[in-house]
Subunit: 340 residues, 4 copies
């Protein structure tokens, strides 16, 4: 079927490629004309403007919006006046599900359908397919099924789960209608919250392995440094890259994130290109907010999130308060350098 | 080559099966005669006693000990007097690496080699192969290479990591000599620490999804219950099993643990057979101790560990202290039942 | 000066007593007529209805609303139509500061001033005075100064902070104008977030002391119980009540919460009257939400919050997922009883 | 009675001053001759060497060792050969209670008594008295009672706990015999673990208040910065020093640590003299280790500990792993500067 794509960044462009490869036709547009120009292929029609974009789409139009979360609102606002009753907007980005709820309500007044679609897969999605978490009305989602099926990885992407009976649901193809509007981005939000914690789990573990040789290093002896009680127990210089690789086969903790970690360590064994400032892009925060609202504990996911804030320097004022207290009650001066 | 296996539980028996299938010969023994009797096959010789077991092995003997962590010490103590200079003991269980260090030193005085081998793979190892994390002296590990190679999953068990050059290290076959004695169990310990956190990450996330419908449920209105501010934002009854399944294909959080979670939810969608008391078996604790000794933060792994302690009821006294404080300063009585 | 109090629960009634003792006159009202009847004294005028209440107040009226957070909105809605331009509403409860912002805007359109006043002190406030954290417009707060001064503990309630110069700000009397509308409840919210964490700090520590005798108790020996490696290191039956008491004098961790803990342990050394279900009343949640919004780490406060959710049973589904995973990969059955 | 003090740092010297002021006589020694010379007063006899020190003490000698944890072992080793059967060594420093257990056993073979005494009070102890947590044999502790009574703050240091009956135990004077050898340092260890968490609670809360104005600051708009959804909700420039001060009177979170925080903020409102590198000195680590050994959750105390490790830069490798993963799956480059 025909689909219009607004936003031709890495994700949007690859979605178009994956769709047209599977027989769909696409109309494409981006505020950046160069991005439009760069995307060519059979069944791809390029639009010079939003008006042109809308004009090239047959009714009922299906428009997939794949732009940074910060500009989704404006993009949809610009688009809506050009659409007609019965048209469909799919927000494939990382929007906050509460924004979906507000947007869908406003669009419904104009007779336009809204679908939220959490899209996971990163830079590998073109080849691997994208995992889709979808929210919206039943009939609209059913109408869009051919689109989702083409984008998703397909049933062969993983071994079948033991115990499942014959009729495969769409979840086995890698896409799922999760519920009413917002449900898709809600599930994607939690997906990313889990992702934060999985990443932190590997990072913490590898950090512990990296420091398994602290007993071999001489350490400052002063009142502000806790002595290592058993230096002989920490004399292992571990090759982190090899450990990441060996865990990929047969271990309980094998995963796609571990595959990527192993790849990163092959590229740059000491990770010298990185400073350790880790951004966060919203979903980890929203997952924590949801846990708090629901009254459900999320100590692991929130610890992962707070670790990112700390990497951004945001604990600094708190840490200075701690130093000030220690100075007050114990006369401790801050230690300025650390040889460990 | 020939290997003697002591301990024919699920893990030991499957290791023997995997070894003999690959051309090795095994002598097997277990304190439980029924377990010995149950294990039959070409190239498997059963021993009636520890003496018989040792007698059936050719010198230099290779003995793999695969017994619960609590009895490893006793098993090795019983075995050692029967061994000779040059024999090798492999501890394949989940021993604490510090015990390895002590044991290896004592054995070295008698001319016996000690190898620690962290073995991951669980009940699926027979088929999938086991990921092996090995510690010990170079020449001994080299001598045992055919054993490890047969047990490990092999290079085909995962797609090759992008960027690796031609010469595949053993880590690409799924086994790794991590360093001197103890290094194998150290790496396995951290592996399990990571495992705790990965598991908790999925569990927390799915719990948040499970409660995404709290806005649909009526909640008590009293001073001891925090009201849900935005009930309309939490009206998603999510099918957790389908979500686990859809994430298996194309998502960033696909993993073997997720595969197992999906399988568990197919078997028992409501997990009614479980009460939620989660045991811990040592490695998560030891990983946390290592992080503390090294002075390295492990907020995620430790949160996962403490979550297990809480599931075992070990926060109860602390919680009663909290209730007592609240009663003191605010006159708050404990709420005895909860309808949420 | 004259003040009207709506809500004659423990807090409201004691505020009235404290105000009238210091020369102010109060008009009092509560939806519960018995509560109105119970409060008598010189300078206290009881109102039979909201209309009566408003009629008894001189213009510009000062109305302090001291009702449970859940009914603050309704109480103010009922009150507003009876008020006139220039009247002042003080919300002394534990409202969410964002609600203040909305309310103040709506009231301003009617010419009514809104002041938010976080009030800490619990059941001891009548005697000790209440710590007040206030938000609102400068001139309004200045007008209300005599009220706040009478309610607050006064400068003698604590030794003067070393280094402060002669001119004592109101903060040294125990009340503070923190900023524009909402600032008072914002500071009170964080106060309570800190309170959660302080309480959890003591509770965790005392729990560790309570278990300092685990080496004296026999423990199950099975694959699902981690053995205690050094039982001889944990043979201290500690008297928790005496420890709480000794820390009250001269220690770094002396505090009012510790005083209360010591009192609770005198009353009921084993805390048998408590089951350990700890409610939370909103502020701990809101503090965590604020930290997340601000991008500031709050691992300690959030851990305290999540500990309460766990005490309420809200980790149960997550824990059952963990048990299900362990069953899948390791064949582990849940341990149903625990002797430890 | 007579007491010998080894170690005349701030703590040791002040203990001597407090003891002699209360009628005891002291023999004093320090490896640093200048420290010995600096301490003068009636009832203080200065020793020129360890031999001289021991010679000046009457039998049975009472020796209080007050030296940094790292040199306690050596100090006691040097001292022991000079002592006689029946002499008493008190370790008043922050030793690990497990070391006490080992030392006491070795000393018992020589007929020397060992007492461990956790001493809290910091630089204010001379005036306020020190809170003492004591481990050792009953008769020895009883013998030393006059010493402990003089050092402790005394019953007047705090209001009596409501509900206590007439007979005041020593805990009401600020010292407590907690149990056999090691129990004193065990309780002191947990005291410090709690201290870490209390400090972190205040620091986190004040950090959240410090950032309550993020909505007033312009923030970068890019894919690597999560936008603030409700800038209007975070427009409070809070005076942190005034908040710390106001909480000192009447609030639930008043404490001695808060008093010190208020004092620190009077001295240096912006805490500019501190960089935020927070040392840890062992007890927080040991408390966490004890919790793990006991199988008791300590999420709050451990989060406080890990926060210190993070302030020391020890999360950096883990953070670089996270950046490497994000680069792999999402093509995200690290953001090098942050305007927030």
């Amino acid at each position: 079927m025909q689909l219009g794509m607004i936003g031709l960044g890495r994700m949007g462009a690859n979605l178009v490629r994956r769709l047209t490869k599977d027989g769909h036709s696409c109309v494409v547009y981006d505020v950046n004309a160069a991005a439009v120009k760069a995307l060519a292929g059979p069944d791809i029609r390029r639009a010079a403007s939003l008006n042109d974009f809308v004009a090239k789409l047959s009714h009922p139009r299906v428009v997939w919006v794949m732009v940074p979360a910060g500009v989704t609102g404006k993009t949809i606002s610009d688009l809506v006046p050009l659409l007609a009753v019965g048209d469909i907007i799919i927000d494939g980005g990382n929007s906050y599900y509460r924004d979906d709820q507000v947007r869908a309500k406003a669009l419904k007044l104009r007779g336009i359908h809204f679908v939220d679609c959490g899209t996971s897969g990163g830079v590998f999605g073109l080849e691997r397919g994208y995992c889709l978490m979808i929210g919206g009305d039943d009939d609209v989602i059913r109408h869009l099924d051919p689109i989702f099926k083409s984008i998703a990885p397909g049933i062969a992407a993983a071994a079948r789960t033991v115990g499942r009976d014959d009729a495969a649901g769409t979840e086995e193809h890698g896409y799922l209608h999760c519920g009413p509007v917002g449900a898709g981005h809600f599930v994607k939000m939690v997906h990313n919250g889990i992702e934060y914690a999985l990443m932190a789990a590997y990072a913490e573990g590898l950090n512990i392995l990296k420091h398994a040789d602290v007993g071999l290093r001489s350490r400052t002896q002063d009142a502000e440094t806790t002595p290592l009680r058993d230096p002989e127990a920490y004399q292992y210089p571990i090759d982190i890259g090899k450990v990441a690789e060996v865990w990929r086969r047969g271990s309980v903790i094998s995963s796609w994130l571990l595959d990527l970690t192993a790849a990163a360590l092959v590229e740059d064994a000491d990770l010298k290109q990185f400073s350790g400032r880790v951004s966060d892009s919203g979903e980890g925060r929203w997952t924590t907010l949801a846990a708090v609202d629901e009254g459900v504990p999320a100590p692991v996911i929130s610890a992962a999130l707070f670790g990112r804030f700390e990497s951004q320097g945001e604990a600094n004022y708190a840490d200075r308060i701690l130093s000030a207290m220690r100075k007050q009650f114990g006369g401790h001066d801050e230690k300025q350098t650390d040889t460990s």
